[in-house]
Amino acid sequence: MNKTNRIKTCALLLLCLPFCGGWTSAPNNQTDDDRYVGVELIATYASSETISYVSKQVVEDITTANGTPRYFAVSGMQNGCGAVAGGIIVGFYDKYYGNLIPNWDSYYSTGRYKGQDGTYVQTLLFDLYNRMQTNVVAPGVSQDEFKNGLQSYVVDQGYNLQYTSLGTGNNFNYSTFKTAISNNEATVLFVQPSNLYSLQTVGGEDHLISSNLSGNHVMVAYGYYEVKYTLSNGTRTDKYLYVATGLSGSSTAFYKVGSYVDAAYKVTIN
C-alpha cells in the first residue's frame, strides 16, 4: 500500500468512526431494566485540572445534617452497590426514625454518623442485598429491584417510604434537589459510567481531580457545592453534588451538576 493509499484508508476509517456505536460518546438511553453493579473507582491523575484564579468565592456549600453515613460493600456482596446505597439511606434516616436499624443507633450523641458496624450495618446490608434480588435475574440490581427492596425493608420496620423523581438524563431538577437538601432529605442517583471529582486547594490553586466509575452505579447525593472563580480572563462557576459513593477508599466525592443521570429519586421516610 503506497503512502497515498494509506492516507486515503486512514481518512476513510476516521470518517466511519462516528457511525460505529461503540465509539459514540453520548450516553445510551437507559431503561428500567438496566443493571447497577459494583464498580471500581479508577483515579485518572492525568485528567486533573488546575484552576488558577485571581479570587474564589464559595457561593453555596450545603449538606444534610452531618452528611450521611459512609457504608461500603463487604465480602460476599458482589455487585452490591444498590444494597450499600440503600443502607446509607436507612442509616441516614435511622437518626430520625430510630427503629430503622433495630437495637442500634447509626449516630453518636453529637449527631456525627458512626462508621460501618461489623454486626448491625452488615446485617442491614445483607438484608437489603437479598430484598433487592441482587444478582438473581442478572448481575447487580435494576432500578425497580432497588426501589422495591428498600421500600420493603422500611415498611417492615414500621415506616413509610416515598420516592419523588428528580429527573432523568440531562434533566436533573437541581432546584428541587436543593429544596430536598434544605429539608434534610437524601437523594438516590442511578448513573452510568461517569466521572467523580475531588477538589483540592494547593498553594493558591484548585486542583480538580477526576476519577472514573467503571460501571453503572447507585449512590446517594446529600448536598451541593457551588464555587465561583474570578480568572485572569473572565469568570467560571462550578456546581457539584456531594455524593456518598458507597466505595470504601473514597467514600465521598463530587458529581458535576448537569452530568447525565439515568434516574434520581428523593427518598422520604416517615
Binding site: 459494583g38 473507582l41 483515579a43 465480602s75 460476599g76 456525627r112 486542583h207
Partner: protein, 232 residues
C-alpha cells in the same frame, strides 16, 4: 504452483546469469535496498574500536546491574520490610474486604508484626476492623481500623498495607494527597477533600493511610502521624 511457473518463465526469458550479473540487475531495479548491503567493510582500526566498546559495555553492565540485583533484594527481604521489590497492584475484584473480630493491635501481637498502630483502645469507642484478603493467594493485603474518638468527636480510620501493595481503592486518596510535610524525617503527604482529611506515609516497609471523616485540619493529621510514629 502458479508462482513457480511464473518464476520459471522469468528465468527462461532472462537466461542464466552470473552472481555479479544478478547483483548488478538488483542494483539497477532496487537501488534503495541494495546500496545498504553493498557497503564497504570498515577498516581494521574501526572494527577493533567497536569490539573494545562492546567489551566495555558488557563489563559496565556486569559491574552495575549484577551487584544491584543481588544487593537490593537483600535489603528488602527483611522480615517486616514489605518486600518493596515485588510491586503488587490489586483491583477491587481481586480481594475481599471483611469485618473481623480482632483489633489491629491484637493482630499485630498474634503475628509478631512490627507495623505501627494506634493504641487507642482505651480512649476510643466503636472500633471496626476490616481485613482485605487476596482472592488469588489468600494474602492479607490490608488491615483497616476505624475508631470514634469522643474527646475530639471524630471518626479516624487507619489503613495499613505493605509498601509494595497498591490497592485500587486507594488511588483516589493517593491522588488527592498533594501536600508534603515532614515529621521526624518521615515525609507524609496530605490533602483535604469534601471535608475529609487524608494523609499517607511510609515506614519500615509499610504504607499508612489515615483519614479523618469530616476533618478539615491538617494539623490534626500531623498530630496523628506523630502519635503513630511514637509507637515505634
Amino acid at each position: 504452483m502458479r508462482e513457480e511457473r511464473k518464476l520459471n518463465k522469468v528465468i527462461k526469458q532472462d537466461g542464466i546469469k552470473t552472481q555479479s550479473d544478478i547483483l548488478e540487475d538488483l542494483k539497477r531495479r532496487y537501488p534503495q535496498y541494495v546500496e545498504q548491503t553493498d557497503k564497504k567493510q570498515a577498516p581494521v582500526r574501526k572494527r577493533k574500536f567497536a569490539f573494545i566498546s562492546a567489551i566495555v559495555a558488557v563489563a559496565v553492565c556486569i559491574a552495575v546491574i549484577v551487584p544491584c540485583s543481588v544487593l537490593l533484594p537483600n535489603r528488602n527481604n527483611g522480615a517486616d520490610n514489605g518486600g518493596k521489590n515485588n510491586i503488587r497492584y490489586c483491583t477491587q475484584g481481586e480481594y475481599e474486604k471483611g469485618s473481623v473480630q480482632y483489633t489491629i493491635g491484637e493482630y499485630r501481637a498474634r503475628n509478631n508484626s512490627f507495623f505501627l498502630y494506634f493504641d487507642w483502645y482505651e480512649a476510643g469507642e466503636d472500633f471496626n476492623t476490616y481485613c482485605y484478603v487476596s482472592n488469588v493467594d489468600g494474602e492479607v493485603l490490608c488491615l483497616e481500623e476505624q475508631a470514634y474518638l469522643p474527646g475530639n468527636d471524630e471518626v479516624v480510620q487507619l489503613s495499613i498495607t505493605k509498601s509494595n501493595v497498591y490497592l485500587s481503592e486507594f488511588d483516589m486518596p493517593i491522588a488527592i494527597c498533594e501536600n508534603e510535610h515532614f515529621i521526624d524525617n518521615h515525609m507524609m503527604k496530605w490533602g483535604i477533600k469534601e471535608a475529609n482529611a487524608f494523609c499517607i506515609f511510609e515506614d519500615g516497609g509499610y504504607r499508612y493511610f489515615i483519614q479523618i471523616e469530616q476533618g478539615q485540619d491538617e494539623n490534626r493529621l500531623f498530630e496523628l502521624v506523630a502519635e503513630l510514629l511514637e509507637t515505634k
